[in-house]
């Protein structure tokens, strides 16, 4: 590989990485050029190692790098690790069509009911209040739906602002740290001229979002998309995954500035709104492939799903119980809760609900706001 001849391709690769969500500055690009020019004929492995060390910022990027490198520089070469990552049992289910049975009944049946229903914006209250309270299914007015989506996205920011406010108040301090005060004021002969306070240490939560994008969620997803996107953008350390019969990482897409581009890419890549849902399989796949990397004892896992699952409830209960042992808490936001005529079935409440710290409705902006307010009180 002759670097002099492929400089423009190197820049192209850097741009390609940027589009994939890598943060690469000008200095890193220059360093890359410099490092590769140190040797007249850099080998493939050497080039890969240099580029990887200079462009990756964390383990997630590190793991994706080799595949991106191969795809860009050697597109004709078959990917040795390439295989359908869908668990075999999930693949079988994906091929199947028709009725989806599971927790809470049949999603197909429910959707037929939903389609028969009609709704308009509530009357009498202020527009903002109406939008906040209205079930998203009934926001037929395009503008109202967009406003609701926008509100949902901004809601996530509430959690962040609330954390910041707490931080500022505690910074002034109520409790003097005697040891540090004495130590820090030795320059004044021990007189406490500059008292030092104990402040409550509070870091932004580490959030992992598991977002159901199956067919049964199509009605709710514009709202929940914006909500999830708001969370991912408000908390830089958060991660997002979408799932239906298989699970895929969508964090870079949710961080995309343009909402339209985000939707297009998501739909192009991941076949949204198709087929049923294998929640238990998807969670197991998440645990096996991303759990050790992403889950921490202080992680909050937020599941956005209507709970319609083709897997066995016992399997889902066990998987969630295991997930709970790995994280601080699990929150399930269900757009079906809070709607008339819906009640989680007994199996769900018996097997799944005990693993939840919060099981809350997510059918409207108001419901999401309540959930966020509750989550902001978590310690």
């Amino acid at each position: 590989m002759n670097v002099q001849g492929v400089e423009h391709r190197l820049l192209g690769f850097v741009n390609h990485l940027r589009q994939e969500g890598y943060t690469i500055g000008v200095q890193e690009t220059l360093d890359t050029m410099h490092a590769l020019n140190l040797t007249a004929l850099p080998e493939e492995d050497y080039t890969r190692h240099v580029l990887r060390s200079l462009t990756c910022r964390d383990h997630t990027e590190w793991r994706r790098f080799d595949e991106l490198f191969r795809a860009y520089w050697f597109p004709e070469r078959p990917d040795p690790g390439k295989k359908d990552t869908t668990p075999p049992h999930a693949q079988r289910r994906r091929l199947r069509s028709g009725g989806i049975a599971g927790i809470g009944g049949s999603s197909q049946e429910y959707e037929d009911t939903v389609r028969d229903m009609t709704g308009i914006l509530g009357a009498g209250a202020g527009r903002q209040r109406t939008i906040t309270r209205a079930d998203f299914r009934f926001l037929n007015d395009r503008q109202a739906a967009q406003e609701a989506e926008s509100l949902a996205e901004r809601l996530a920011d509430y959690w962040r602002r609330r954390l910041k406010r707490r931080f500022l108040i505690s910074r002034h301090g109520r409790k003097i740290d005697m040891r540090r005060t004495l130590r820090g004021n030795l320059r004044f002969g021990g007189l406490p001229v500059n008292p030092l306070y104990l402040r409550r240490r509070r870091e932004p939560p580490h959030i992992v979002i598991l977002h159901d994008v199956s067919h049964s969620m199509a009605w709710n997803n514009p709202l929940l998309f914006r909500f999830a996107r708001g969370l991912v953008r408000a908390f830089p350390a958060s991660e997002a995954f979408a799932f239906h019969t298989r699970l895929f990482r969508v964090t870079p897409l949710y961080r995309e500035r343009s909402l339209e581009i985000m939707r297009q890419r998501l739909e192009a890549r991941n076949h949204l709104w198709l087929g049923g849902t294998c929640i238990a399989d998807s969670l197991r796949y998440f645990l096996d492939h991303f759990g050790r990397l992403l889950l921490r004892p202080y992680t909050t896992v937020i599941i956005l799903s209507d709970g319609f699952d083709t897997n066995d409830p016992v399997q889902l209960g066990k998987t969630l119980e295991f997930l709970k042992s790995r994280v601080k808490r699990i929150v399930w936001l269900n757009p079906m809760l809070g709607r008339d005529g819906y009640r989680p079935d007994d199996d769900f409440m018996r097997l799944v609900a005990p693993s939840m710290e919060l099981l809350a409705p997510a059918h409207s902006v108001g419901a999401l706001e309540n959930a966020i307010r509750h989550m902001a009180t978590f310690r």
Binding site: A35, H49, R63, R201, P236
Partner: protein, 293 residues
């Protein structure tokens, strides 16, 4: 470049550290570009060792800063020796020196206590500065580090800005207990140290514990590799493998076959939580031993 990689690899091997070409390339890059290196990976995979052997092969000093919650500049950069300053002020009380002269006398290098970061940039020969477990420190300290890592200088209000005499080789390690800032990551080269593959782990064991036989070391490596594949809260790292190997050698074990009881008794060398101890019971041990044999 090929020669340089092999040469450094051989030098590291001579000190007992087995490194792959990816890590060697990153270490050379660190040297050529003068940039700090951030190493992440699970506990026990040899992150800290990288800094130690780097100091060893370069024949330079290793300066270590162990991070913890509440670490501040007094413990990491410098501190004035207040007791001596107060004594000095007392002694100067009767002298005819002006106030400015007295102040200059009190705030000079004689009363400056160097802490690891300041010490690292004032050494005539470039040392290796190990900032261990940076994720345990506060965000404020991390922000403070940015000045040091980008410009290699430290500002002391009473003395001014102190620039590095030589650029230290900086190695930061993190276990990922909290997210590091993008600003810090951007200033560093990045390397993720994963658990070693069987071949590499075998080389590590044989190089660190020369007394272990080929047969036993192969069995140990296969056993540990398979154990890592089970659902443990905390998977054993290389350090744990070495401890366990030493324990088995000490107990006179030459073969894992028919020694399930000893494996069970010594599993504490590999496992670190009560949950994992419960998971790795006699039946799982028998199963793993059978798989190894």
């Amino acid at each position: 470049m090929h020669n340089r990689i092999e040469e450094l690899q051989a030098r590291l091997k001579a000190t007992g550290y087995i490194a792959d070409r990816a890590l060697i390339t990153t270490l050379l890059l660190m040297q050529d570009l003068g940039r700090p290196l951030l190493i992440e990976g699970e506990a026990g995979v040899g992150k800290t060792e990288v800094a130690k052997v780097l100091a060893q092969v370069n024949g330079c000093e290793l300066i270590r800063l162990q991070c913890y919650e509440g670490l501040d500049s007094n413990a990491s950069v410098y501190e004035w020796n207040y007791t001596h300053q107060l004594l000095s002020i007392k002694l100067l009380e009767g002298s005819s020196e002006s106030l400015a002269q007295r102040e200059a006398h009190v705030f000079n290098e004689q009363y400056l206590l160097e802490r690891p970061l300041l010490r690292a940039i004032r050494r005539p020969q470039s040392p290796v500065l190990l900032i261990d477990e940076i994720d345990r420190s506060d965000e404020a300290f991390e922000a403070f580090l940015l000045e040091l890592l980008s410009d290699y200088q430290i500002t002391i209000p009473e003395l001014g800005t102190i620039r590095a005499v030589t650029i230290p080789r900086v190695v930061l390690t993190s276990n990922g207990t909290r997210e590091l800032s993008d600003a810090l990551r951007r200033r560093c080269l990045y390397h993720y140290l994963d658990y070693p593959d069987p071949g590499k782990e075998l080389l590590i064991i044989r190089s660190r514990i020369p007394g272990v036989g080929e047969h036993l070391s192969s069995q140990i490596v296969m056993f540990v590799q398979k154990l890592r594949g089970t659902d443990l809260r905390k998977r054993p790292g290389v350090a744990e493998t070495l401890d366990w190997t030493a324990a088995l050698l000490g107990l006179g074990v030459l073969d894992l076959k028919d020694n399930a009881a000893i494996i069970h008794q010594t599993r504490a060398c590999l496992l670190k939580t009560q949950d994992d101890m419960a998971v790795v019971g006699k039946s799982l041990i028998n199963h793993l031993v059978e798989a190894v044999l």
